[in-house]
């Protein structure tokens, strides 16, 4: 029997086992069905899996994983596919495990302020489901209308309100988890104080490489008593960034601090999402304050004073929920508005110390100019989390090359300023080979040790997060047949 024939026979055996276990309606194998799963939000990285399975229960996920493990077949978990780093990009010959059918909210306990959900529950739907209890689920990535809790756990997702309310890891109390050998276990505890090593903590943000989450117990947060949203207009980005620094040292923690630069403002105002922002503004700073209503007037006064001290042209306080939504519209629609600037959009993600923002922003803009790119900036200024966005056309090979080179330079600039290469999008495949900008060989070796303890066979979402060429001896010998799409 030839190697190809043996391979095909093995794949056929796996597919028959999957269909027998889950039913044919839960297994996709036709090319036209697999096409939609070839990539996530990082469309530059694509590959076709052997099959896509859609389990409905944790036991089915465990069965799929056991089948794959026994057959030596890699498997890749996927939520809604909104990820921006290629974390859910499959490999040829891999089984993609798509969790969208596991979309039930299993328990809401408003007295204990916890909810138990399946991984396919959409982030915003969870908040909607608990709102009448005066609670919400705090991590609010920009994709929250589509992204799932399971995906949020994999990426340790943040969002604009991370500054005050934390990221996913601060809100996950426990996970039910399928290990790469197919065993089902629970990590963490309902109180958030589990005994033993913080295995729950390392699973959050592990990008689906340590196992597959099948249930999540999350902490719910009381809806703030009062909210004030302000929009400050500045002549330039630097003064907006300096204002952020003044606000942060005001003795309270704002709920959100978001900046849009001029190019973003103009893209938004030229689009259907126009929010009435002045097109000639250098930057807009969106500030949200929440907490006890009695505390907010002083905080608003401090924000006004900070903005005025840095030369703000105007500061508006939202008069009501309608105006608050309008302020946020510009921020939330910004990525969509960039579709007008080019058919492709590269949404970068890096973090720097907050006080470095003014200097780094200037360098990022200079990089964009030098590479002759349409670069605009939207960022979570309170966290120092930048999102330089580059609009381009991938069919223009020269432009694509400039986009990639500029991206690397942006990351190098951020790391040189004391930052890191990703604040919320994750490493995935996108930044796997940039990990050495932040970590040396010993650091990465420690990460390998963690991963290998959970995933010794290397079948669970291989070739993500950690660079593989450097660690040939430890690289997964089972993952084969994958030809990388060159990044530069």
């Amino acid at each position: 029997m030839s190697a190809t024939h043996a391979e095909g026979s093995r794949a056929g055996g796996v597919l028959r086992s999957l269909e027998a276990a889950l039913g044919r309606d839960a297994c996709l194998t036709r090319p036209e069905d697999l096409f939609a799963y070839e990539c996530d939000g990082l469309t530059l990285e694509a590959a076709r899996p052997m099959a896509v399975v859609l389990p409905r229960r944790a036991e089915e996920v465990a069965t799929v994983v056991r089948i794959c493990a026994q057959a030596d077949v890699p498997f890749v978990p996927r939520g809604a596919g909104t990820g921006l780093s290629g974390g859910a990009r499959p490999l040829p010959g891999a089984v993609l495990i798509e969790c969208s059918r596991m979309n039930r909210i299993l328990e809401v306990d408003p007295d204990d302020r916890i909810a138990v959900v399946q991984p396919g529950v959409v982030n915003a739907d969870l908040t909607k489901a608990v709102a009448h209890h005066g609670l919400f689920y705090a991590p609010d990535p920009s994709s929250q209308l589509a992204c799932t809790i399971g995906g949020n756990v994999a990426e340790n997702s943040g969002g604009p309100h991370t500054l005050k309310h934390g990221t996913t890891t601060n809100h996950v109390l426990a996970v039910e988890f399928v290990l790469p050998d197919g065993r089902l276990t629970r990590l963490g505890s309902d109180s958030g104080h589990a005994e033993g090593l913080d295995l729950r903590g390392v699973v959050v943000g592990s990008e689906g490489t340590l196992g597959i989450v099948t249930e999540v117990t999350v902490r719910l947060t009381p809806t703030p008593e009062g909210v004030e949203t302000l929009l400050a207009i500045f002549p330039d980005v630097v003064s907006a960034c300096r204002t952020v620094g003044r606000i942060i040292t005001g003795g309270f923690v704002p709920a959100a601090l978001e900046i849009l630069d001029q190019r973003t403002i103009q893209a938004v105002e030229d689009s259907v999402y126009a929010a009435g922002l002045p097109r000639d503004a250098g930057a807009v700073l969106l500030i949200e304050l929440d907490g006890p209503a009695c505390d907010l007037p002083d905080q608003v006064a401090h924000v006004r004073a900070a903005s005025d001290a840095e030369g703000a042209d105007s500061v508006r306080v939202a008069a009501d929920d309608v105006e608050r939504a309008q302020f946020w519209m510009a921020r939330k629609a910004s990525f969509g508005a960039m579709g007008r600037l080019g058919p492709d959009l590269y949404v970068h993600d890096a973090v720097v110390p907050r006080k470095s923002l003014p200097e780094v922003m200037q360098k990022v803009c200079e990089i964009g100019d030098r590479y002759r790119l349409k670069l605009s900036n939207v960022f979570h200024a309170g966290d120092g989390n930048l999102h330089p966005n580059i609009s381009f056309d991938r069919r223009d090979e020269d432009e694509l090359s400039r986009v990639m080179n500029a991206g690397r330079e942006i990351l190098e600039t951020c790391v040189a300023a004391g930052g890191v290469i990703t604040g919320e999008h994750g490493v995935g495949v996108e930044k796997r080979d940039f990990m050495d900008l932040v970590f040396d060989a010993d650091d990465l070796s420690a990460m390998h040790r963690l991963r290998d303890a959970f995933n010794p066979a290397g079948l669970c979402n291989p070739e993500k997060v950690l660079p593989t060429p450097r660690f040939c001896a430890e690289a997964n010998p089972k993952a084969r047949g994958y030809d990388r799409v060159p990044f530069e």
Partner: protein
């Protein structure tokens, strides 16, 4: 050559000494390796591993009693010289300090500077002892009375520098407050009881220091209605500490006990003037609370003081709404109980009736008492924070499920294949 000679030869005579003994569950260690800096630490660990020796890692020694029985330690590894705050950034609200730095020193450093009205910052970590070190609190994931507002150390640590048992110096995380670059090894090391690596230094996230702080006390009953009120008080927006003690615990704490019996609730309110005033009005109205002194030191001491052979202390972690019910069950079982309703944590002490060493019958009864209460509460997490040595011989003081224990052993093997660090002490007996 013994391991001390090897260390002395390689790193100089001032890095090792024989002196005051460290006692650990009947094991006495007089030899101590105190590296002068992180490089010496890493080199020393490598040499200790080559000598097939094992160390007990010690910071301030304030939480050494917590852990399983040590297995053949040869010497103490002291982190006291890895001390000092080398970066405090009042603009960004972050600080970087060596593992041997006292919490008190860090608190003092960050109090000044930055903020409107010079409000300054505070480190959301605390200890009962001025000797407690940063590395020790992180390694043991220590919490105190202000856990309601501070959360556990995992929420404070931004980045760690860690020397592995195999001699490598590594770092994870960083100084930025948002970071998903690679695996969150900081979560792994925090609460690992020094079994996977020795913390050299840490980047920490600070909180704005509150402008107004006040303490309040109120007697509360022993019923469900009182539990609901206590939890509501713990959840006030400006509550920084919420402590409930039963009569037995309050007597041990030498704190006033209500003549009506029942329990006592203490609360610390901390925040902006308007919110703290409003919450204080709620306390006085709903609970008849009165102004009180700061009792955090006494309470913290109660839940941290090693009991040795005199008794046991257990810590249970349960859902918030179960704290009252579980606390009462422990009260009925003869325990002094201190709980933090908003955080779901309960500390239960029982000492020998005689005031001396606990005899075997009392000890067995106390352990079974706690275990049966924990078993009756779904999802409860249990550890024995203080246990006579004899009782540790056949149990893991940390109650961990089998799969997690297996993963922990695997991680231990990968990170510390020769068992250099705190052999046997950590959860899972690793």
């Amino acid at each position: 050559m013994n391991v001390l000679d090897v260390l002395q030869d390689a790193l100089g005579p001032d890095c090792v000494h024989e002196g005051a003994a460290t006692e650990l569950d009947g094991t006495w260690l007089t030899a101590c390796f105190a590296p002068a800096d992180a490089e010496a630490l890493a080199r020393g660990l490598s040499l200790i591993g080559k000598a097939a020796a094992s160390v007990v890692v010690r910071g301030g020694g304030t939480r050494l009693a917590l852990g399983n029985l040590p297995i053949d330690p040869a010497l103490v590894l002291s982190t006291k010289r890895l001390a000092g705050v080398d970066t405090f950034d009042p603009d960004d609200g972050v600080v970087h300090a060596g593992a041997g730095t006292s919490i008190a020193e860090i608190q003092q450093t960050v109090r000044v500077g930055g903020g409107a009205d010079d409000a300054g910052w505070e480190l959301p970590m605390e200890s009962a002892s001025p000797h407690a070190t940063l590395g020790g609190l992180i390694a043991t994931a220590a919490v105190g009375p202000r856990v309601t507002a501070f959360g556990p150390p995992r929420d404070v640590v931004l980045g760690l520098e860690v020397a592995l048992a195999t001699g490598e110096r590594t770092h994870c995380g960083g100084r930025v407050v948002k970071n998903v670059t690679g695996y969150d090894l900081g979560k792994l090391y925090t609460g690992s009881f020094g079994s996977l690596g020795v913390i050299e230094a840490a980047w920490l996230r600070l909180r704005p220091r509150p402008k107004c702080v006040s303490w309040w006390a109120a007697p509360i009953g022993d019923d469900d209605a009182a539990d609901v009120l206590a939890l509501a008080a713990a959840r006030l927006s400006s509550t920084r500490a919420a402590i409930v003690a039963n009569r037995s615990a309050a007597r041990c704490l030498d704190l006033p006990v209500s003549p009506e019996g029942g329990r006592c609730l203490w609360l610390e309110l901390a925040g902006a003037p308007a919110a703290t005033e409003r919450d204080a009005a709620w306390l006085t109205g709903e609970l008849a609370a009165e102004s009180s002194v700061d009792v955090s030191a006494e309470v913290h001491g109660f839940v941290e003081e090693p009991l040795g052979s005199r008794g046991i202390r257990a810590r249970l972690a349960v859902r918030s709404t179960a704290v009252g019910r579980v606390s009462r069950a422990l009260d009925l079982a003869g325990f002094g109980v201190v709980s933090h309703p908003g955080a779901g944590l309960i500390y239960a002490n029982r000492v020998a009736d005689s005031g001396g060493d606990m005899d075997s019958a009392e000890l067995a009864d106390a352990i079974v008492g706690v275990e049966s209460v924990a078993a009756g509460e779904p999802g409860a997490a249990l550890r024995f924070e203080s246990l006579p040595t004899v009782a540790k011989r056949d149990r893991d003081v940390f109650v961990v499920d089998p799969v997690s224990a297996e993963l922990s052993r695997d991680l231990k093997h990968r990170f510390d294949p020769k068992g250099v660090l705190n052999r046997g002490r950590a959860p899972g007996g690793v």
